[in-house]
């Protein structure tokens, strides 16, 4: 009956080194790496800058975070910009947000939509929020 048992030495290579094992293993490895990346970059940090129409930093502007809620965007939190016009929002809970800025006397910005690859992904705005018109 041993004749039907097969060679134990080549058995593990045959079972492990084939496309039915390697392809799912690679997919799992990629998923694991992505999960690791997401878990270490999900502090809910949104960083950016507010400028006026002339391109000068605006201090004390109110920057508001809008979070997608089922069908509409709801206001989530606000922060004020620093002397260099920069702002830093912490605790963004979503992957689909909008940002707006306003400063009375200078103007307001349009709401800028931001899409993220996972919830609370840390992000830095590629372009500043620009205030225009009267706020």
């Amino acid at each position: 009956m041993e004749a039907y048992s097969g060679s134990p030495r080549s058995g593990w290579k045959k079972w492990l080194l084939n496309r039915f094992v390697l392809v799912p293993a690679v997919i799992l490895a990629i998923a694991g790496a992505w999960d690791l990346y997401a878990s270490t970059h999900a502090d809910g940090l949104v960083v950016g800058q507010v400028l006026d129409a002339q391109g000068r930093p605006v201090e004390g502007a109110d920057v508001t975070l809008w979070v997608f809620s089922f069908t509409t965007f709801a206001e989530n939190r606000s922060v004020k910009t620093g002397a260099d016009g920069s702002f830093r929002i912490t605790g963004n809970p979503s992957h689909h947000i909008q940002l707006s800025a306003v400063k009375p006397g200078i103007g307001s910005s349009q709401r800028i939509p931001i899409r993220l690859y996972f919830r609370s992904q840390n992000t830095t705005l590629a372009a500043p929020l620009v205030l225009s018109g009267r706020g």
């Binding site: 009956m1 039907y4 048992s5 039915f20 992957h95 689909h96 690859y117 919830r119």
Partner: protein, 271 residues
């Protein structure tokens, strides 16, 4: 010397057929990364501003990971049961016994009865077994499929009877003959069983709809229906969901397509 006819017309025709078959898949993929409505005019072949955010929307709109896990577990149970039960049934049908012709006719005639006609008895039996709203209950009606039994039978028929006789002389019991002799020689039939049972289980909608009682036990097709009931403007996200549901089946087919084709065609020719 006989002159060979050119093969390019056949290749051209095959490319045209491939194009027709693949266009719907491409269109779904394109819409899932661009969100362009199907009624957009003029239609664009290349997606404009492609991105992956619709996939992110799907992931968070419903408990996708949970549905995916449920579908994987149910499919794994279905595949394992199919390979075991269908191999046993296929092996039995290669042997000679009284009433074999009647069993074959019974099997063939049962193939004509749609599952919708037997769903109430299936539900009652599953309920009496206490398997409603469970993974085993979700897989139970697809534990064995007649088409796959015949795939195994065709493959086993092609194995010389002398091999089985030799194994019997060596004292192997029947189950070991199936496990150590027949199945290793019927890998293509096994691949066909795996792919077919996976796709049928993965795409099954009606049975999970009827027998699951909690959202935690629902599978991906039910998740798709739930997703549609949530969202109004789903053009991009809906197509992204379809891709996410289709991808595992396509991947499995691509991995095992050689064995799958062999399994379907084995026994089709003699000699």
């Amino acid at each position: 010397m006989m002159r060979r006819s050119p093969t390019w017309p056949i290749h051209l025709a095959l490319i045209a057929v491939c194009f027709v078959m693949l266009v719907p898949f491409y269109w779904v993929l394109k819409t899932s990364v661009s969100g362009e409505n199907i009624f957009t005019f003029p239609p664009s072949i290349i997606p404009r501003n492609p991105h992956l955010f619709y996939y992110v929307d799907v992931w968070y709109a419903i408990p996708f990971a949970r549905y995916f896990l449920n579908s994987v577990i149910v499919s794994a149970i279905t595949i394992a049961a199919n390979v075991v039960f269908n191999a046993m049934a296929g092996y039995a049908l290669t042997r000679e016994f009284r009433g074999k012709g009647f069993i074959l006719i019974l099997f063939l005639s049962c193939m004509m009865v749609p599952f919708q006609a037997t769903i109430i008895p299936a539900y009652l039996i599953t309920g009496q077994l206490g398997l409603l709203n469970s993974y085993v209950g979700l897989a139970l009606p697809q534990f064995s499929t007649i088409i796959c039994i015949f795939v195994f039978k065709a493959s086993f028929d092609a194995i010389p009877g002398s091999l089985i006789d030799a194994a019997k002389v060596d004292g192997l019991p029947e189950w070991r003959i199936v496990w150590t002799i027949m199945l290793p020689l019927a890998k293509s039939a096994m691949a066909t069983n795996v792919i077919l049972s996976f796709i049928w289980s993965w795409n099954n909608f009606l049975w999970p709809l009827i027998m699951t009682r909690t959202p935690e036990m629902q599978t991906l097709p039910l998740g798709l229906a739930r997703f549609l009931s949530y969202q109004e403007d789903t053009t991009g996200a809906l197509y992204a969901f379809c891709i996410m549901v289709l991808a595992p089946g396509i991947l499995l087919f691509l991995l095992a397509q050689k064995e799958f084709i062999q399994g379907l065609t084995s026994g089709a020719t003699k000699g």
